[in-house]
């Protein structure tokens, strides 16, 4: 599997040598089975299953698209259509820390672009790109529903509120 993704520094870690197929480990499989019980159709389980897959592998690779499709009796094209529609499904590998800066209006007028531009410059990446060591991905995102504590930076699952450039640097120092 790793050899299919030469540009992914994490491929070797994320796809330990388990043949050419991706497959949920027993724990994830159990969670998947539970998801199925919560919906009247198999198709409705697609979004939660993709979330689960992304937790497992970090991104939705073409192999994952096929695998999820096979679990839910959906064609890879249908699954990919859904994956590409939603912002949160990573269509390429992201860094260990996904730094997502909200730059929508309330965050913009409280200087979110300073943070965003500082991050790109300091880490030497273009928007949406990952640092060479695979550690950080910087992205600009839309309103995170936390405008009262703007500006907001989401790192992986967590919100960091009332941010500024200095606090961002302090946070970055902790994200090794």
């Amino acid at each position: 599997m790793a050899d299919l993704h030469p540009d992914n520094p994490y491929a070797k870690v994320r796809f330990p040598d388990r043949g050419k197929l991706v497959e949920f480990l027993p724990d994830a499989k159990k969670r998947f089975d539970h998801i199925l019980t919560r919906y009247p159709t198999k198709e409705a389980a697609l979004l939660p299953t993709l979330h689960l897959a992304q937790e497992e592998w970090g991104w939705i690779s073409p192999e994952v698209v096929h695998y999820v499709g096979s679990l839910l009796d959906l064609s890879p094209a249908t699954v990919f259509g859904v994956v590409s529609f939603y912002n949160m499904y990573n269509q390429k590998p992201v860094g260990k820390y996904h730094l997502q800066v909200c730059t929508n209006l309330s965050c913009m007028v409280t200087n979110a672009y300073d943070i965003y531009e500082h991050l790109c410059e300091k880490l030497g990446v273009n928007p949406g790109e990952t640092t060479g060591d695979g550690r950080y991905t910087v992205a600009e995102v839309e309103c995170l529903g936390s405008c009262g504590t703007a500006p907001v930076v989401q790192v992986n699952n967590d919100y960091h509120e009332n941010m500024d450039v200095r606090k961002m640097d302090e946070l970055l120092a902790k994200l090794k």
Binding site: P127, C143, A150, Y159
Partner: protein, 436 residues
Amino acid sequence: MQPIKVLTANIDKPNSASVETYLESGGYAAARKALGMKPDEIIQLVKDSELRGRGGAGFPTGSKWGFVPKNAPKPTWLLCNADESEPGTFKDRVIIEKDPHLLIEGMIISAFAIGSNPMSYIYIRGEFHYGAMVLEKALEEARAKGFLGKGIFGSNFDFDITVHRGAGAYICGEETGLIESLEGHRGQPRVKPPFPAVIGVFGGPTVVQNVETLACVPFIVDKGAEWFKGFGSPKNTGPKLYCVSGNVKKPGVYEFPIGVNLKELIYEHCGGITNDRKLKAVIPGGASAPMLLPHEIDLALNFDDVMKAGSMLGSAGIIVLDESVCIVDAVWRLAKFFAHESCGQCTPCREGTNWMESILDRMERGEGRQQDADLLLDMADNIGGKSLCALGDAAIGPVISSVKKFRDEYLHHVTHKSCLPGTKRYRRLDMPVAAH
């Protein structure tokens, strides 16, 4: 007007999200009471309360419940809209994270009233990981107490709730987009009619209701329609959460009887404008709402008065912009949002939102043309009312209102190839742009 604590009564208590705290404050009594009533009585009560939807459209909730057919061939569904993606809005998050049992109780009562069982969904935006976790925990607590599950409160009503996480798409807040997304599809809105109340999710009658709307329901059942109407004015009733953000000293969520004065809210309760600058414009109802000028804000923030002032209360996301903000830059940022979030089904919305973003961007870059302000209005005219869902109409709100109210500032960008003196653009123009 003084702030109140109805929907926010519990949020400052320690362990506010736990079922014990909720029960101590009299929680789940309304659900117990409601399950002893006839469903039609509850619907009538909600109609009498004049409760209007808090998600954006302000549609009367009781009337919507009344549209649900009684003997539909397929099951009826109640869906909670916790997508909260309208820029400037962050109120549902407070209820979800701090008082999740209030939402659960509201859902139990609403589901019983419309005959939705045995499953319901909370469609929560994917970014709210923490909120989803709090909800999962609260649901577990409610199940353990027998408030969810088979035959709840000793009735023969079976009911359970599943938290369904979205995955980053504003359009899934639109109710038919939400329904499509819940079914496992791309969140592309449906043609109406049929309205969701007749044919919605999984082919059955469906009622989609905002978090705050559902949170009002236990109070109506508990304290009555007259009590509820004691807040606000006729047809604009109840407690209301207001989200204030942008250039104000004390941003945050404030609760008032619906209809607090906008000027008072900004200058008294939120402490005025940051650094005591002058006010430039206010967006009163989330990114989709047309802008108001400083002389237009002596205004009661309820559905009808804001509408009369030429804007909308929407989600009550109030974004305050001070005199140092370049209006073209601000509107560009909103245009960029709508271009990014257009689901792409209708040509006017898909193409138009992108063109508006490009034109605003070129004006900021000093490459604007003399006719660009009118071109923007012309494009807005080609989108408004010509798209399938309300996103198209939302996208033109800030554009039309700002071109009309700040035309000189737009023209300045063309003639002087720069922002108005004293105003600033927040972003650098030399950053590479990530693809949509």
